[in-house]
Amino acid sequence: MLASLLIQTLNGLASASLLFLVALGLSLIFGVTRIVNFAHGSFYMLGAYMAVSINVWLGGGILGFWGAVAGAALAVAAIGLVMELTILRRIYRAPELLQLVATFGVVLLIKDATLFIWGPEDILGARAPGLTGSISIFGKRLPLYDVFLILLGPAMLAAIWWLLRRTAWGLRVRAATEDRGMAAALGIDQARLFTSVLALGAGLAGLAGALALPREPASLGMDLSIIADVFVVTVVGGLGSIPGAYLAAVIISVIKAWCIGLGTVNVFGTVVSFTKLTLVAEFLVLATVLVLRPHGLLGSEPPAQRGAAHVHAPLPEPARGFWMAAGLGLVAMLALPLFADRYALVLLTDIAVFALLASSLAILMGWAGMASFGHAAYFGAGAYGAALAALAGAPFAVSVASGLILATGLAALIGRLAVRTSGISLAMLTLAFAQILWAIAFQWDGVTGGSNGLVGVWPPGPLASKTTYFLFAMLTAAVTLGLLWRLAHSPFGYALRATRDNPRRAEASGFDTLALRWSAFILSGAIAGLAGAIFVFSKGSLSPDVLAIPRSVDALVMVLLGGFETLAGPIVGALVFTLLADWLTRTTDYWQAVLGAAIITLTLIFPHGIVGTFERWRARGDRQ
């Protein structure tokens, strides 16, 4: 038993090294540029594919393998460099999360490009020559390559530590991490430093991808399967803390290995499958760590970057005539069934749902200044609540209310813990809770239907028609959004924005800022839940993917594309994103690449979101 535990620990350490290598690059990039690089997993995947090709090109053998490792790292570094030069450099001054959206576009682009170049089949790479065997420990065999990896982690930690502490370049990186504007004023070329950091970070991810090849095939799922883990490692360790990232990688990997080693255990008559816990182990660690230590294990409060600090845009009261115009618009929408075909109504029903979801997220991001990476949790809770009630025979209205109540309750619970933190910690905490909920829905077969989900959740009677359901969805969304827009300039809306602008002043002016943030969280969750409830009845079925990361990312993309500090932004974002995706999937086989390119282009043209950027252009016009 002890021998097993030891071997499992070593297994964990070997996995930790690769995870650490990828996280290392992400951490460096975030530290200096403040960019949450969603494309980091894509760099890792590219590293693996590049290494496969370079190894073949070099004719295999020792030279082929190690040449491929080095070559892949360099090639991916070059790609990171190109991404910095062509995309990121143009949007450093945009709100931080917009850069995340741009890198999300890069993810889509790289994925399709990889499919195009290397084809759909998984490619098993060569093993490391000389490291194909295994050594025996207590009668168990441990691959030599794992031994190599176990040593590699601390070696890379030491190497990077040396690079950062003992070289002039490292000194510049550390200085720029604290205050890039001041570093520039001391003669440090920020642009070149950023480019080099992006290249190094991408190169490290590429290196990890190449080094992963003896353990896993190059496959198109590598990017997204590692990216969430790497975010978790970076945040658990403490953003920007390199030793923290290693510690976190070790903790998470070893916990997983132990869970696997424990297997299925009978605890006082209950059978507990620890191996199933590996589905969500990293997020349980993340939630625990962030609740106890909001800045991660070895992290400290990140220094505020000057110049990059975002000044929130004003949210002016709607002009006279606005409500009249909005009412006319609604009437036009409701008259649409007279002209449009059924599919248009179905598409608009989706848009109404996503407009609600995006607007609910914008309450958090725009009004309260809190980003949520796990907004699908409340959307999904609304959907599950409504579906379960409907399947239990509840009337339609009761079902929708059930979804709303479940989502609101969850938001209250999660919000209570989340609102005490802020920034990336808060965003990652919401992600962790969303993933835990996802895992519950995924596993709880008896209630949620497990990974297959629930089917046959159609609205009853007159609402079964797509036309009436469209009218219902559109009217509900319009009324909710109308109330929301009023709320923006109600005492609550003002107080919330005051809390966001300057929490200390708000507190000194008699506001309970924590309660306000919590209320915003609950309100946001409730509206997302309403969207989820409407959604499930329009689709007739649901599965855990309503709670999964891609749904949260979609919501983020909509809000940021539209402009998160405007009332109309999330709606425009939902409209543009949904129509774009719908149109592209029907138009081209490589729709992912085109959608990615479109997202990147939109972020470059509209750095403050479509509506937000128009507002700025007009404000500038007013001034001149």
Binding site: A168, L171, R172, R174, A175, E178, D179, G181, M182, A183, A184, A185, L186, G187, I188, D189, Q190, A191, P303, R306, G307, V311, A619, R623
Partner: protein
Amino acid sequence: MSRSASTDAAAERAARPLLEIDGLSASYGRATVVHDLDLTVARGEALVLLGRNGAGKSTTLKSVMGLEVERRGRIVFDGQGIDDWPTHRIAAAGIGYVPEDRRIFAGLTVTENMAVGRLPPRDGHAWSEAEIWELFPPLAAIRERRAGYLSGGEQQMLAIARTLMGNPRLLLLDEPSEGLAPVILERIAEAVGMLKSRGIALVVSEQNLAFVRDFADRLLIIETGAKRFTGTIADLAADPSIAERYLAV
């Protein structure tokens, strides 16, 4: 031929002011803070910008440095137009900037902070650590301490020291006296005087006239982003109405 031509060019450059600002306007997002400002700084001269906060002093200095503001207008340093240069290139050309809130790198040690600022020698001279310790003796004793643990006065010394490592010809000091106890102020003022005596030109934004009295060559009062007065301390003293208006002492 070419040699004499370059000598001529050098002579011509030497005859021009070190810094010339012509029609500078600067804004932050929605707010325009400096309007159509002109000023010049001669080689080795110490110019003091006086005026209330928000008057545009800090913004003027940031504009010279190309930092965090949108600017329009012409800025010529040592004969070269620098108004479209990135910040790091301006620093490398010989302008040192010490911001109002010091902006020291809190996680780096004192010597590391100074190392960040190090640039190649200029005019055959490079500031050494030894010279810095001489200028600011308190720093020598805490050279391995993390800058985040320094007191306000020590941080101000470090901020100046760090900039000196870039061997500037022109030093921009933004409110160096801000928030410092009177006893510390005297030491800083003394050090600034020494820098001037070594030929470094200065633009100092200040509110505390007493602080600059010993080294200021010329005063320039700005209000709402425009020039209101320029002259020596003596000129200012000679016109009590100005002193009354801007510097109620």
